[in-house]
Symmetry: C2
C-alpha cells in the first residue's frame, strides 16, 4: 500500500499529504471509468451531431445518415454506441427505427461544453477570469 516515497520529490512528507488529500476527492474507480466512458462517447464529432440533431425531434437512421453525410451502416454503428451508453433510445415503426434522446443530463452537458467552447473561441483567458464581462 504505502511505499517509501523518499525518492519522490525532495519534500516527500508534504508530497504524501498532498497525495492523500487528493486521493480523498477522487471518485471510486468504477465512477471514474463511467465518467471517462461517457465523455469518450461524447468525444466524437459524429456522435455530437447525432445528439444535437436528436435534441429537436426523433429521427430515423437514414435521416441521420443523410444529415451526417456518412453511410447508414456507420450511422447504425454509432447509434449502437449511443444506445449502449443509454444516451438514445429507439422505437420501431415498420421497418424504420426512430431514435430519440434518452437522457436529460446529456443536453446540459453539451450546452455547458458549448459555453466553454464559445468563450474560449473569442476571448479566452482574460487574466484569471476576473469578471469576464461584468459591468
Amino acid at each position: 500500500m504505502e511505499r517509501k516515497d523518499a525518492d519522490v520529490c525532495e519534500i516527500y512528507y508534504v508530497n504524501e499529504a498532498h497525495v492523500q488529500s487528493a486521493r480523498q476527492v477522487l471518485s471510486p474507480d468504477r465512477e471514474i471509468l463511467s465518467l471517462a466512458e461517457i465523455f469518450r462517447t461524447l468525444g466524437d464529432p459524429t456522435r455530437v451531431k447525432v445528439l444535437q440533431a436528436l435534441s429537436v425531434e426523433e429521427l430515423c437512421v437514414c435521416d441521420l445518415a443523410k444529415l451526417l453525410g456518412i453511410s447508414e451502416s456507420a450511422t447504425s454503428h454509432q447509434l449502437r454506441v449511443l444506445r449502449n451508453q443509454k444516451l438514445v433510445r429507439f422505437r420501431k415503426e415498420g421497418k424504420m427505427a426512430f431514435y430519440s434522446l434518452d437522457d436529460a443530463h446529456i443536453d446540459s452537458l453539451m450546452k455547458e461544453a458549448l459555453r466553454h467552447v464559445r468563450e474560449g473561441a473569442d476571448q479566452y483567458r482574460g487574466t484569471e477570469r476576473v469578471r469576464e464581462s461584468a459591468g
Copy 2:
C-alpha cells in the same frame, strides 16, 4: 447541396424536412469539432483523475504520478494534453512544476456527468418512461 433523396426512405419529402430542421440546430462544424475535442480530452480515466485531483489544490508531476499509479513520463504526457486544451496550467517553482485547473466550466461538466453516472448506477431510467410494462 440538395441531392436527390428519392432513394432515401420511402417518405422522402418528410425526410427532407426532418433533415433540414435538424440541420438548423447543428452547431457549425468548428464548434462540433471543439466540442468533441473537449469531451475526448475528458474521456480518459487518467485525465479525469488528474482533473478531480487538481480541483482541490495544485499538485506537482510526481505527486500526480504517484496518485495515478503511472510513470511520471506518462503523467507529463497527459498533462501536456490537458495543457494544450487549456484545462490546466502550471507554474514553475525551482525544478518543480505545479499544475492547477485552468477552467471553471470543466468542474461543472464533471459534476454534471457525475450526477448522470450516479443516477444511472442506482436507479436509471425513472424519469421518462415510467410504466414500460403497462399495456
